[in-house]
Symmetry: D2
Subunit: 333 residues, 4 copies
């Protein structure tokens, strides 16, 4: 392992999934297409907490899936009939549309461009769909590279978490060309509900980052406000209720405010994931020469949450850092 | 006036209003009470932008108003039949309920406790209602002082602005004893719609501060997010629309987000007033030994808005500071 | 006590000191002047932790002191021959130069302008010297008011703490007219060593605020750096030593950095006093429409220190807040 | 180039330097060693602004240098007798000590571990010395990898800039084993003056990060203080002078404070480099679960400086962001 902390060479990352005994060997199988026009050959790379139920939903929707087979492959994906390939390149060779759902920017880069990766298996007319949440700026570079192969690229990050992935109710924010969006839309509709084509490549990822900025900072705002109220002697539950009618009302005050009062910090959306997303925002801000002062400060508060043992808390647990600083809790729960 | 920057002595503050020629001299007039049970004798101190329409709504509701007459008194208040008194003390002597609507904590202190002030005119059983937005901590001290006179105290700050004051649609957040709240409620209902008794004295002001923290920080969050999106090349209007469905949705994203995109920074709620409110939050935080990091940073951004000429902008104009730092505007309007 | 939280009326504040049995009644005593040209009649209001040793140094220097006698007066000040007056006004009547050394802006305002205060006792040609640390902005207003009496005003805040006050080694930062500075300089030289006339009225206070901004923020910077180093596994003592040679070197790294490593948080300069000083900076920033982002954040960290029980810690104890957030201490001491 | 934004494969990065016509082909030349004990075979990778003069100083000191020859190689390095190699691997094969001086963490990783990189050319007993400023956390991983080859690793970042590199007066902060330090020390002494072995691997980089935190935050502090003073009407030059005697004194107040007053923002040390260093601090803070609130905010201010066109300004130009927010300059210069 010559590159500490970084994956390279032929794709064998433990973050990607594969089978032990391959059943259906890719490239050597014939599938009967049920619905001529809708049944598509879809590659899916990244069968983790999110990708696994998303892939199942695509199979249930009648599509033929090509997945990676060098490591653990969820049994139900194989049993549902996914074709297992030896390389990511082979997935791309066999699919019209290749979907990625991996942890971070370097993983997408690696899956796409490492030797044996997606790029090597593409041919003109195919579509790459990255549903991971990664850098909008690098997304544009990736898309340009893929375009050189004669292929379209869609960035299509999601929100809604594991619950939304299982329930096929994800919000999907898409960037890319309209005709590619139209072609992939039936697949999106098998995975999510609130599906928006925001603009060109990168705009999907940009929208996701904007979403994560607002969510984090609104949680922090609700935390400061409820802590102030509680420390000043007011009942935070009544304060929350009084505020829900006015300008301070938000989904965060409603849901995460209630979590802070009821002391329910089981995820939901984990703090360590929100740290990753704010890091995308802050790295983007540096690239774009933007000041995001409250995003920056909120990231530092998330770091403190991690120090308090909170990497796995729901992001509403950010309030615990403010409480820790004040030696006072919003509520006793 | 030997005390620069501070009001003391007999109440003659230019911030309070009074008449030129007094018509109805207080204490010497008989009013025919229209509705035996509801018609109350109400003192009203502070006929400014907010207090003026609020007082008119009380008169329209059939109540007898006692107002201050040493300086400018809005003509329509006098014509509507308000009784004009020479001192604030006289207002308190003639009223069952004394309402204050003045700019800041020192004004309330002065109106209540200076020589010739409200406290001197109170007698057991009367109620003082402070509808100004002031310090929750000092409010508790003021209430305790008033209670010594055998009188109840309600802190009842509002949100909704001049528009809400005129339309009698203010949100009113009340702290104080239930029986006093019950007695004053008919008056509140002539001025507002969303009326909540949050808890004991101070809790109304605390709720208002909590509201202003959330509103300011959510505006800032929406500003950072839309600026990021726009600077990264996305259409901020489409981003806002995509976000409205999910966890990032809020009244602020809806209304103030639209202002940022449409470039409408006419108030609304002025930045200099929000600076005053965040100052209450931050002074309170120091008293209570609380850290409010994003409130503190947002106050500094409001200061910068003021430097850019924005004291009179709607508070959504906070985004202009972020834009100024980035040399990039969210939208061209 | 009609004004909760605020002192008014004739000066009887417990913050000022006075005698039980007055020995020398002011206005009725003759003192033999030792040095014709240097021996001055000096009023001194505020014999607290700082003022007490400063006043003694003036008496030792051969000057005739007039002090306030309604409350506790340090025995040694009385025994040293200070003349005790019944009112602050009487102090001003009997002195050429009146020195103030009181806690905060409202105290200065009260001592100067309340009934029975300094202003009432002034006559043309006298000099008021405020050595308290207060608002530069209000200082200008105070000076203008005093000037109307035909008197000069010097703002002359100090740094160096109780140790410097006793050792007559205070740093004194002065604002005001040159001729007044020249006249008072012999007194300053009995109290301090590093004496600078920075500019006109307010500039002394402004310099003190600037000093306190830099000191607080440099402490915070050293805290972040040593905590980073320690948490990353380096020996903070060796890191501090390595840094002392380069651009990072400062008095704070030298002295307060050592305190952080040796775990010595006995004051020194107390956190609650630094909170007061940063509040002057931040209120000034609001008045002047300035953004002081790191001052604002550092104040919130001081608030957290107070919540951890640290109001009385030396200001280097600010590092404990960063440590508390990281669950890691710079050193074990 | 399949990996946008990332270097991999055989080392051909434009950030590294090489010759057009190779004169001395490495591995095929005999050098007469002047000083038997001191003359060492030294590989040097990274002949940029810093590395170029550092390498020349080593050659002047009598050492035999092996450098990379695929791209631009400074003429004077070749003329001074450096041996030019075709691969980085060959440099390592020919040298006892391999020095790296490249821009960032990924560059070090690439130079060390890519195919054809340093690691492939190492044999037991050699020493790798990384004088770049990179991540302390990844440094530990790199060192552990190199140790597996039977080689020691020193992290030895510098401060002092191009001026210090030319004058051989750099400050060098070293992490690694004592015996390796002792062996390399004669080389360090040809490049710098203030040379400290802080601790084990990573501690050199950690010290550098700590240094950059303090320097950035002290610049920011001095900026806030001088801006406050100037905006409040005081002469910033006199304020700076008054502060230099006390607790606020620092090298930064002395040198960068003067730059702010004299308006000299020519580098010195460029803002874009300080952005990179604070990014190391902030990425480290996330990894270590630390909150560095003022480092985070100061990074955002540097981002704003970049937006104002200041990537190439001296880092004291940070004050311009505060000035931009206040619409007021510290001085007219």
């Amino acid at each position: 392992m010559p590159h500490p902390g970084y994956t390279s060479g032929v794709i064998e990352s433990p973050r990607l999934e594969a089978s032990g005994e391959t059943v259906a060997v890719c490239g050597q199988q014939e599938f009967v297409q049920r619905t001529q026009e809708r049944n598509m050959k879809v590659g899916f790379v990244g069968l983790g907490i999110m990708g696994h139920p998303m892939a199942l939903n695509l199979i249930k929707g009648g599509h033929q899936l090509f997945v990676y087979g060098k490591r653990r492959l969820p049994v139900d994906v194989r049993e549902a009939g996914a074709t297992v390939c030896d390389t990511v390149k082979a997935i791309a060779e066999n699919s019209e549309i290749v979907i990625l759902m991996v942890p971070d920017t370097p993983d997408v880069r690696s899956v796409l461009f490492d030797p044996g990766g997606v790029a090597e298996g593409l041919s003109s007319g195919k579509i790459v769909v990255d549903m991971s949440s990664i850098s909008p700026i690098e997304t544009k570079l990736f898309a340009a590279e893929i375009n050189k192969k004669g292929c379209d690229y869609l960035d299509a990050p999601v929100s809604g978490g594991e619950v939304g992935a299982k329930a096929a109710s994800l919000t999907i924010m898409v960037g890319g060309p309209e005709q590619a969006f139209a072609k992939v839309k039936p697949l999106f509709e098998l995975m999510g509900k609130n599906i928006t084509l925001v603009g060109g490549n990168g705009d999907g990822q940009t929208t996701k980052v904007a979403n994560q900025i607002i969510v984090a900072l609104t949680i922090e705002a609700v935390g400061e406000a409820l802590l102030f109220a509680s420390r000043a002697g007011a009942d935070p539950a009544k304060v929350r209720q009084a505020l829900m009618g006015g300008f301070a009302s938000s989904r965060i005050l409603e849901l995460h405010g209630e979590r802070m009062i009821k002391r329910n910090f089981d995820p939901g959306f984990r703090i360590e994931l929100h740290q990753k997303d704010l890091n995308l925002a802050l790295q983007g801000a540096r690239s774009l020469s933007l000041s995001l002062p409250n995003t920056a400060t909120t990231q530092e508060l998330f770091n403190a949450a991690a120090a308090l043992g909170g990497k796995g808390w729901d992001h509403s647990g950010l309030v615990r850092v403010l409480e820790h600083l004040a030696r006072h809790e919003v509520a006793k729960g």
